[in-house]
């Protein structure tokens, strides 16, 4: 039963007062001793049948009479001004129903300082015009008829070039996104001067592309002044807010629906232009419009993981105690700041290790390429590659086991806020479990046959994943004893439907098949935040449990009257309510609900606050074994052992899937994935042929050494997030294993054959 408390926090400085809202649920957390029967079991996905039969409805699958197909004309130049645009011929083409461009679209603000269709274009792929037509072919024909005269402007590609004093400005005000974000505790410079052992190296990470199999896009339709959008999004409520705001509509007249989506990985966590463009085209045409990006547009204009350059300095005593961490980070923001989670590359330097002297300085840099957006553990993946590589270098410099070095230095508290973690031993557990399962042995010698050399490496991570308020859910019991759960969150493919259904079924004492969960619809669901930050299960799970608990309480009160017993004496399991100690006095849940129908039992639940005075965190460690062919530079990842502390595991199959999938993306990030931009600002591999993602034969044997331990201080379910973190340590663990195998340190991702061969050649001056 949520109880809403609103506190006024008076600013006192003339700025607007803030309000702090706390909703307490009064639920006792499920801890390690709670006997659970539905939560914790590896149920198959509740939507499995929809997906294997092809029935699952994605953003581009909506059937609507009169549906038009939209396409977007994109800038061929990395920086240009539109001198003249003529769409008359496109508009005259039979079958074309609407055309939008700088000259004809409403002046809708986009990015901090631009327009939806702006005269200034800042990357190859920037939106120039859009058409809606009877067919994809006609839409494509129409785009060819749009005549645009561009005035090319000086442009810059790549971090280093953009930082040069003479670099052409991507936008007025220069190429720095803002002043550097600086963090400091203690005195890292002094500690580095005094440290007997210092590592000082520079690492780079590449621009990586999400390449969700389903591109961004939506279907839009108007019914009078009401707009419905089926969008491939990680946040139906954020899309609703943005679209309503830009179109000047009240929020209740915009309905955003997302039944299923073909991956997001962070790239779909914001409202993108396509949603507004489709809505405008649909309104102009008076017909529904489908606007799905093609693969090229997806890889040009729908986000990427920012490239970074990181200078890392570590100071340590001879016994391997870290005394200083310093990082200076530059990252390639692309042409625009698109919002959403920032890529906070600095964070892992501040948190992963116990260290009194830490300085980080992070600066974003504009370039004339597609904008960066969150990509699965944004910032942490980039930062961990550098930090965890540097830790391996430190271990080598100290002649110390990399595992022992980490065990000596890992953090048990959030040093940024001076709060202990709810699971201070979380990372230790992961180290120990991963090392034991892997058979980590410091004294083991690199092995190999012929040109092949084997080596082992490890890396670790932390991450948030606590979840946070607000987030809501409702539970209703039908007359037949079935239950429906309604929430406004979304299942972005991770298994949210299944995990939340298990939580509800557990609390309601019903078998899983008697519970159905509805989500992904702003018109029917109650507010839930963006599915990002590995927060969904830990945010909405407790809200679902709270709603179910309220329904359960009412159900038991009704049953108590019927059974002539006290509610406290009733037990509810697998759909049956029994009087304790009197097994013959029992009712099915349906017996209760039928007798009171059509009166209805309903529960409303909210996400309670996170604990005061403590920090909730997730952790992990991975050990990998690789084989390097010194003749070809090929790196094969032979096996990975991954151990992650994410609190209670609600569904082992779903959690294993997150680990396997994330490690696979980590292999891609480490070895093959890289957006390549030529000197003219053109992306050379904006497709799935030349942008290499891992295929089935590329995937190593992955063992998930589970740490399934509830974190009852975190929230009422004891579960924390796992979606992003297992990607974080994979790349540095691979790089460290490559060093172990062949003795060369690759400080740049991806560890391509070209890089390996060049490094091996430099390492081995004399020919064999």
């Amino acid at each position: 039963m949520p109880r809403l408390h609103v506190d006024r926090l008076r600013s006192g400085d003339g700025s607007e007062d803030e309000y702090r809202v706390v909703e307490r649920t009064g639920l006792a957390a499920w801890d390690a001793t709670t006997a659970l029967t539905v939560v914790g079991r590896p149920y198959p996905r509740v939507e499995g049948a929809e997906k294997v039969t092809g029935r699952a409805c994605y953003a581009g699958d909506v059937r609507l009479a009169g549906l038009l197909h939209a396409r977007v004309l994109r800038s061929p130049l990395p920086h240009a001004r539109i001198r003249r645009i003529d769409t008359a011929a496109a508009e005259a083409l039979p079958g074309v129903h609407a055309v939008l461009g700088t000259h004809s679209a409403p002046a809708i603000r986009w990015y901090p300082d631009g327009l939806l269709f702006d005269r200034t274009l800042r990357f190859v792929g920037d939106e120039v015009a859009a058409v809606a037509a009877e067919s994809e072919e006609t839409a494509a024909d129409a785009l060819r008829l749009v005549a645009v005269e561009y005035e090319p402007l000086p442009f810059v590609v790549g971090l280093e070039a953009a930082l040069r004093p003479e670099a052409p400005p991507v936008r007025e005000g220069g190429n720095l996104v803002g002043p550097p974000k600086v963090y400091a505790r203690g005195d890292a410079e002094a500690a580095l001067r005094e440290a007997p052992v210092v590592i000082d190296e520079t690492y780079t990470t590449q621009t990586a592309l999400h390449n969700c199999l389903e591109p961004h896009g939506c279907t839009a339709t108007w019914d009078g002044e009401r707009l419905t959008l089926w969008d491939s999004t990680q946040s139906v409520f954020d899309v609703r807010e943005r679209v309503a705001e830009t179109l000047g509509l009240p929020e209740h007249r915009v309905r955003v629906i997302k039944h299923h989506m073909g991956g997001g990985f962070g790239s779909k966590q914001i409202a993108w232009k396509h949603a507004v463009i489709a809505a405008l085209l649909a309104r102009r045409a008076g017909r529904p419009v489908r606007l799905m990006l093609d693969r090229e547009a997806e890889n040009l204009a729908a986000g990427n993981r920012n490239a970074t350059r990181q200078r890392v300095r570590l100071g340590a005593t001879r016994d391997g105690t870290l005394t200083a961490i310093s990082a200076r980070i530059e990252q390639d923001t692309g042409a625009y700041l698109v919002g959403g989670e920032g890529s906070n590359t600095s964070a892992i330097y501040q948190t992963l290790y116990r260290c009194p002297n830490v300085t980080t300085e992070q600066v974003g840099v504009y370039t004339n390429t597609g904008p960066a957006v969150a990509f699965r553990a944004p910032g942490h993946v980039e930062g961990a590659f550098a930090l965890e590589s540097a830790m391996d270098e430190l271990a080598r410099a100290l002649d110390m086991d990399p595992l022992a070095l980490r065990l000596r230095n890992y953090a048990e508290a959030d040093q940024r806020r001076g709060r202990p973690y709810t699971t201070p031993d979380g990372l230790r557990l992961c180290y120990e479990r991963a090392a034991a399962e892997f058979g980590w042995r410091r004294d083991r010698r690199p092995s190999g046959q012929g040109s092949r050399r084997r080596g082992i490496g490890m890396a670790a991570h932390d991450w948030g994943g606590s979840g946070y308020p607000p987030g809501y859910a409702w539970v209703k019991l039908n007359g037949d004893g079935s239950a429906e759960v309604v929430t406004g969150t979304q299942d972005i493919g991770t298994g949210t439907r299944t995990g939340l259904t298990q939580i509800a079924a557990e609390e309601l004492g019903l078998p899983l098949e008697r519970v159905l969960l509805h989500l992904g619809d702003t018109a029917t669901g109650v507010y839930a935040p963006v599915s990002a930050g590995s927060a969904t299960q830990a945010t909405i799970g407790p809200a679902v449990r709270a709603a179910a608990a309220e329904a359960r309480r009412q159900l038991l009160e009704a049953a108590a009257t019927m059974l002539e017993a006290a509610p406290a004496d009733l037990q509810l399991r697998e759909g049956t309510i029994r009087v304790a100690g009197a097994p013959d006095r029992a009712l099915d849940v349906a017996d209760v609900t039928r007798r009171i129908a059509p009166h209805m039992i309903q529960g409303h639940g909210a996400r309670g606050p996170n604990p005061d005075g403590k920090a909730v965190r997730t952790f992990g460690a991975q050990c990998v074994e690789v084989e390097v062919d010194v003749d070809t530079g090929e790196v094969s990842v032979l096996r990975v052992v991954a151990s992650h502390e994410c609190g209670r595991i609600v569904n082992p199959t779903l959690v294993d899937s997150q680990v396997l999938g994330a490690v696979t993306q980590g292999v891609g990030f480490a070895l093959m994935e890289e957006r390549v931009v030529d000197a003219g600002g053109v992306v050379l591999n904006a497709n799935l042929e030349e942008y290499k993602v891992p295929t089935a034969p590329d995937v190593p044997a992955v063992v998930h050494a589970r740490v399934d331990r509830p974190d009852p201080e975190a929230n009422a379910t004891g579960a924390k997030g796992i979606g992003e973190p297992p990607l974080v340590p994979t790349a540095p663990a691979i790089a460290n294993a490559v060093f172990d195998a062949v003795g060369v340190r690759i400080r740049h991702t991806p560890l391509s054959r070209r890089r390996l061969l060049a490094a091996l050649a430099a390492h081995r001056p004399e020919p064999a």
Binding site: P42, P44, R45, E47, G48, A49, E50, K51, V52, T53, G54, R55, A56, C57, Y58, G60, D61, L93, S135, E136, E137, D141, L145, A147, H210, N211, C212, L213, E214, P215, H260, M261, G262, G263, F265, D294, R295, I492, G493, G495, T653, L654, D656, S657, L660, G661, A662, V663, T664, Q665, N687, L688, E689, V693, P694, T695, A696, P697, V699, V702
Partner: protein, 165 residues
Amino acid sequence: MNVIPIRSSSEIRLTVNGRPVTLEVRPEALLLDVLRDRLQLKGARRSCDMQVCGACTVLVDGAPVSACTYLAVEADGREVLTVEGLADGDRLDPLQEAFIEHGAVQCGFCTAGMLLTAKALLAEEPSPSPARVAEYLRGNLCRCTGYRKILDAILACAAPGGGTR
């Protein structure tokens, strides 16, 4: 520049999921668009547009093809099987069952293509080795699962004898 190509349509007759279909299609019409927009069979997904990701895979006369680059006119006189035709009424194909059971489905966007590719493989080779299954799936990308559970699901449907490697 401003030339609109003149296009004529032609009639094609094909069998889709066991049912005869007759359609007028433009010569450049892709099988994927015809399936999705004309026949409302949405199970084949558009993703890479260049026959490398496998999300649009359907079987034409039993062989896996990428419907995103396969002209509809090429299907004239042929039998097309889409994911919607895999189940026998309400009875799922064993591969479909295995995909659900093994957790081989995540976001689901690659699933139809994976299932049909697996169907073709097992028809060709009833007892493939694990390495052979992985190799055969090279043209089907999955960004979510890491493939392992997909391989497990397919191997669970293979006849015994494929070995363990």
